[in-house]
């Protein structure tokens, strides 16, 4: 390109701008745990992110481990051998997880981060940098992900800019667990089947109450009607299958009887076990 009149600041091909990242809750737990256990003189924790790149380009971050590092005024030193050892160990268990980036705690991107990012880009073509603000500096814990984009002036590389990419926190596993277990600092007892059922039904009841109240409010004119919500409600109510009472009763009774049968079967089995036990140990040859 001819040097001269005007030079245009060019961001290199935004093929990566469509990149987005998905983070599993385990990664956040890991990072927080490492932060809590960091050595006293370290201000932040740095580590590697493991995961895979999905076919549609999103980066799926599934696991992570901390890497010991030391930071001085302008320099950062990472324990590279440790990093490699951990990587090898992790891949023994799960060979599909590869390095997809690195993380650091603390808000924003600092000067030292560029150097580390450089190091990681030697391992992976386009590493993702995740920052987790454990200091809650903005009054909330922000988690952001960045990729580095090269800024080029003409043909010359100027700098690398950290560009934020959308981050999706997939909490499905955590939800499955039940947030109560994960949110409080101590849970005394894991709920068993029936207790969990009870909790769920109470929640369902609360939901139904809310909807009921909302519909009442709308009918009485206290709240402005929202058409989309109304449609949702009518869809939900319509999704109950329309069965004639006799058919439904038969269905219900059949299922009930199946369950009772199974309960009976398991009680018989237990009685059998008790008998077998007695025969085995109590029998003596005189």
């Amino acid at each position: 390109m001819a040097a001269g009149d005007h030079t245009v600041l060019q961001l290199s091909t935004p093929s990566t701008v469509n990149l987005s990242a998905k983070v599993h809750p385990l990664v956040i737990f890991n990072i927080c745990d490492c932060y809590v256990r960091r050595p006293d003189q370290a201000e932040r924790v740095i580590g590697t992110l493991l995961g895979s790149v999905l076919p549609d380009g999103t980066v799926d971050i599934r696991n992570s481990y901390a890497v010991p590092h030391t930071e001085f005024a302008e320099q950062v030193a990472l324990d590279i051998e440790y990093h490699h050892n951990m990587l090898v160990s992790h891949q023994k268990v799960n060979p599909k997880e590869v390095i997809v980036g690195w993380y650091s705690t603390g808000l924003g991107v600092t000067g030292g981060s560029a150097l580390i990012h450089d190091f990681y880009s030697r391992e992976v073509p386009n590493p993702v940098h995740l920052t987790v603000d454990t200091g809650f500096r903005n009054g909330e814990g922000t988690i952001k992900a960045y990729v580095s984009v090269n800024l080029a002036l003409g043909d010359r590389q100027l700098a690398a800019q950290f560009q934020e990419i959308p981050l999706d926190l997939r909490m499905v596993e955590a939800e499955r667990l039940g947030f109560d277990i994960l949110k409080t600092t101590a849970v005394d007892k894991l709920p068993n089947d029936l207790e969990g059922m009870e909790v769920t039904m109470q929640r369902l009841l609360a939901l139904i109450d809310d909807v009921y109240k909302y519909v009442d409010d709308v009918v009485e004119g206290r709240v402005a009607a929202d058409n989309s919500i109304g449609r949702f409600i009518s869809d939900t109510v319509a999704s109950l299958p329309k069965l004639s009472p006799s058919v439904f009763d038969k269905l219900m009774n059949d299922s009930l009887q199946d369950q009772l049968l199974l309960l009976y079967l398991s009680s018989i089995t237990r009685a059998q076990l008790g008998l077998a036990e007695k025969l085995n140990t109590a029998a003596q040859i005189l």
Binding site: N94, T200, T269
Partner: protein, 333 residues
């Protein structure tokens, strides 16, 4: 009463019985992730933590790679373990092994290998637990996590390798006494609970609830009952072994009596003739050889397993009742 230092040092502290296992949320997530990724294959991993008083804290864990049946990989596995522990030590993770975890299918984990692993661990660590996770039950919204430990009386018996009926009656040990289940507490650091509260505000309904309200539990029940049937077959085989043993024992005793009678009449005849009476016992005669009593360990394990399946069936059936009545009331309205 003041005790001299020597006295205090000499008295060994009696370990307080293990009452609670305290697990961090991080460990639970890791276990779930590992087991789910490899299901239906069964996987294991190591638990790390601290042993404090009557609470066993589990603060971290790492998975084991799936081992092929190869002799060289044996040493590899040990290396992997050492490497992981060393690396984790560098980032200030608690470095003590407190047990191991394994995944299971439908709760069928009572096997001899489990007991053997327990004994192996028990030799080195004073207190260890095994955490069993069942990924198939988690699809129903239940966190199927159990902490198990072998009961002390069972361990003594196992070491003596003596499972005859008398010994068991002596110790009053039945099949429920083999494994002790320890209640689990979950703890989280304040930081992570702050994050979690922040990231996911209190939604009224979560995925967990959706799972719980699902009506289709038939495949799960079917598999349960299938496993139950197989176990009953095993149990009846064990019963047959015992019956065979008892029959042969009584037959042997009858033979012994007959032989004894013969000897006695012979002796009487000899006495009448004035000769030395023959001894009334003859250890070289094969009918006096004691028949070994079959070990009851297998039958105990199978019984445990069956009880487990029954419990599971009961649990799911109970849930199903709730759901069915819910459906009924919804329909009526």
């Amino acid at each position: 009463m003041a005790r001299s230092f020597l006295q205090v040092a000499a008295t060994e502290e009696v370990p307080s019985p293990l009452r609670v296992v305290q697990i961090e949320g991080l460990v639970i997530l890791k276990i779930i992730k590992h087991c789910k990724e490899f299901s239906p294959a069964l996987v294991t991993g190591q638990l790390l933590g601290l042993d404090v008083g009557s609470v066993l804290e589990v603060t971290n864990c790492f998975p084991f790679p799936i081992r092929e049946e190869d002799v060289e990989i044996e040493a590899d596995g040990a290396n992997y373990q050492l490497e992981m522990m060393r690396c984790l030590r560098e980032v200030n993770v608690d470095n003590n092994t407190v047990g191991w975890y394994q995944s299971t299918i439908l709760g069928s984990y009572q096997r001899v290998e489990l007991i053997e692993t327990f004994m192996n661990y028990q030799e080195n660590i004073r207190r260890c637990v095994c955490i069993i996770y069942d990924p198939s039950r988690s699809n129903q919204g239940v966190l199927a996590l159990k902490a198990l430990k072998l009961s002390d009386s069972f361990m003594e018996l196992y070491r003596a390798n003596n499972f005859t009926g008398e010994k068991l009656r002596e110790k009053n040990l039945s099949w429920v006494d083999i494994f002790e289940e320890i209640p689990i507490k979950v703890s989280n650091s304040a930081l992570i609970s702050a994050f979690m509260t922040e990231l996911e505000s209190d939604t009224p309904v979560t995925q967990c609830d959706y799972d719980r309200l699902q009506m289709s539990t038939k495949p799960y029940m079917e598999r349960n009952v299938e496993f139950l049937i197989e176990c009953m077959d095993d149990l009846s085989m064990e019963q047959q072994k015992f019956q065979f043993y008892y029959r042969s024992l009584s037959r042997q005793q009858a033979q012994q009596q007959a032989w004894l009678q013969k000897r006695r009449t012979e002796n009487m005849a000899r006495k009448a003739a004035g000769e030395e009476p023959l001894p009334e016992e003859d250890p070289s005669n094969p009918i006096f050889k004691p028949i070994p009593e079959p070990s009851r360990l297998e039958s105990f394990l199978v019984t445990n397993q069956i009880a487990n399946y029954c419990n599971q069936i009961n649990g799911v059936a109970g849930q199903n009742f709730h759901r069915l009545y819910l459906m009924k009331s919804l329909h009526d309205n």
